[in-house]
Amino acid sequence: MSFLMNRHTLTVASLCGLLLMLVFISYAVDVRVFTRIATTLCINVVMVVGLQSFMGNTGILSFAHIGFMGVGAYTSALLTIPAQMRGMALPDLYPFMEGLSASPILAIFLGGIVAAVIAAAVSYPLMRLSDAAAVITSFALLVVLHTVMLHWSEVTNGPRTLFGLPAITSLPLTAIVAAGAIAVALMFKESRLGILARATRDDETAARAMGINTPRVRWLAFILSALLAGIGGGLWGHFVGSFSPKAFYLKETFVILGMLVIGGPGTITGAVLGVFIVTAAFESLRTLEVVLNSAQIFSGQVVGVTEIVLAFSMIAVLALRPGGLVPTREIGDAIVGLIRKRKG
């Protein structure tokens, strides 16, 4: 019982319960479109929780996250596109890579590891920077990653659509990975490293005075977030089956960032909640767009409403409730607080 009362366990359990409910509803409803939305939602949970473990703990905005998603997706693609498809999907592939292959599940995790390794290799010096300089460098890093994906035809098929990834991503799989991501992110947040990272976020100078190696702490958080982004990318790649580098750029960044900012970058509960809310809003708005378009009320096509609404919501949340909907307290803390209050 005391184990169940642990507020961290409670947080993980509540958030995973939410995912479980999603899977359950999806099976009950049994509509392919709903299952696809639910799957995308779980992938976004992995992405947003990943971004949270860096941004939430260090307070630094990172644009590069989606780039690592791309790294994961392309790595996994390289390892899993069936041999007979490779000639068509990757006509310029280096000969020594032709033999590479792994089972899709393994490939997804290897994608995460490759993303983490690249993040580890390039990001250490960047972690010294704060504020605008840190944001500009992460933005620059995104442009670099994007440019490489766009032009390294041998490995990514250049700007052209890469296809042939086995479609193995199912809702249960993504839900399990999302649950794992939530648990890992919470473990990191509450670990000594996570607490140190948050100390650097709240007061960099004081943290330095206490002897905290700020770049190192941030670096580890960044690696973790790249790992999760890479895994998310792999899952996504095996879900859609074909994609081009365009999928890993500013538009996607904006959606992931919007989910985190609206939910609350400070907490994992906020991150997960943000994904649910934005997904629900997005899908409703998208349905609205489709309805408006098929009804042909307007002469042109109705596009971009979803993005505009998301953008205004972000500005509103930042202006009125800068910490997002769940700024500081995880759901576990809230439940424990509630129980205590009732007892007391």
């Binding site: 509803i25 250049g158 659509t161 859609v240 089956g241 999928a247 809310i277 629900a280 409703s284 596009v303």
Partner: protein, 389 residues
């Protein structure tokens, strides 16, 4: 939280419920044509043409005695959106699929159609990757392949105009732009022409100065410039070339068949430009064209301004003819009907090879010249011996 989830569940449940009652009698043709994004100049006219065809079919008793409903979800020029849209349409009971142009964007729709066991036809994908090899035995494209398109351009340049040297710019953007250059180069070389320089460009760069400096470094003016690019970028490249005084004729593929591009180039830059496309929107094209032009004008009140409207009409009409031959919309039967027959269309006579040889389309191309920003037809062409894919 629960509430929003329920809302989604209800919404999607509702939409499927209404859809499934609606299709009890109607024959639903799904479409994922891109009405927005870089692909729109090719797909949107196709969408308009397809609607004319649907109205024509319904006015003449429908198909298999059922009314035809064409439902298109905007693919937004994004492979992922196209895939999602296709799935949504199959959930609503689509029995045939109109896939967007080009392998990169149409591919996902083709793959979803194949996995649902139905026939999908792309309105104008011309890359040979758009074949039964890569997508499956129920997938077709209405367009000639780039083998024909590239070879037609090469033969026109070398045989008809005696342009011996060529400079080639390839937009790395999609499979279409890459392979079009590839087959032009192969064929131009095979019939005796000389390629001075092959250069690359990436769609959206909006900067052609690097290529120009390499072209100028050649020290020799090419007889012809082959540009395989897409959308407004063709205009950017032509402008950049003309602005520094390079006035060699320019030749390219069906992506040039876009009135917005012609307007962009205008009287100043829209000269000495040639392109290979699907058909000509005038009586010169063939006996059935005047009927279509009339139906189109009745529906939209204007004349069509690009041959891509014809590809939309043709896709629906091709489906209709094949379904009538097969007597069913069953994928295997319709695919067989498509493989075994030859069809007379606005975009010329069309037959397919069998699934084992890729569903290669057997089709002629239309050559058009741009004069003072206005297109002028030069007539049908069929290359003697196009390269193999």
């Amino acid at each position: 939280m629960k509430n929003s989830l329920l809302t989604i569940a209800l919404l999607s449940g509702l939409s499927t419920a209404t859809a499934s009652t609606a299709i009890a009698e109607d024959l639903l043709i799904g479409g994922t044509l891109s009405l927005t994004g870089v692909q729109a100049p090719l797909d949107e006219p196709g969408f308009r043409g397809a609607q004319v065809a649907v109205k024509y079919l319904n006015d003449n008793g429908g198909l298999l005695g059922r009314q035809v409903v064409f439902s298109n979800i905007d693919g937004k020029s994004d492979p992922v959106t196209v895939g999602n849209a296709a799935v949504q349409l199959f959930d609503r009971g689509a029995e045939l699929m109109v896939a967007p142009c080009d392998f990169d964007f149409g591919g996902p729709a083709g793959r979803e159609a194949q996995s649902s066991g139905i026939v999908g036809i792309s309105t104008c994908a011309s890359d040979p990757l758009y074949s039964s090899w890569s997508l499956g035995d129920k997938q077709f494209t209405l367009s000639m392949w780039n083998t024909t398109m590239g070879a037609t351009a090469a033969e026109y340049a070398y045989n008809e105009r005696e342009w011996k040297t060529a400079y080639v710019v390839t937009d790395q953007f999609i499979a279409y732009t890459k392979s079009l250059s590839k087959y032009f180069v192969e064929h131009f070389d095979a019939i005796g022409g000389e390629i001075l320089l092959e250069d690359t460009y990436t769609n959206g760069d909006n900067d052609f100065s690097a290529q120009i400096s390499r072209l100028q470094a050649l020290g020799q003016k090419p007889d012809v410039i082959f540009i395989s690019s897409y959308g407004t970028d063709v205009g950017v490249i032509v402008r950049a070339l003309r602005e520094i005084g390079i006035d060699s004729p320019v030749i390219g593929g069906d992506a040039y068949d876009d009135p917005a591009l012609h307007e962009n180039l205008g009287e100043t830059f829209g000269n000495d430009i040639y392109f290979v496309t699907h058909t000509w929107m005038g009586p010169e094209a063939g006996p059935e064209m005047p009927t279509f032009l009339q139906l189109y004008e009745e529906m939209y009140g204007v004349e069509p301004d690009t041959s891509f409207v014809a590809t939309g009409w043709d896709t629906i009409m091709l489906m209709a003819k094949a379904v009538e031959i097969a007597g069913t919309t069953d994928g295997t039967a319709v695919a067989a009907a498509l493989e075994e027959n030859t069809f007379e269309l606005l975009t010329g006579s069309l037959g397919y090879s069998d699934a084992a040889s890729g569903h290669a389309p057997d089709k002629a191309a239309m050559l058009v010249e741009l004069k003072g920003g206005q297109p002028v037809p030069l007539g049908w062409r069929l290359p003697a011996n196009p390269p193999a894919p």
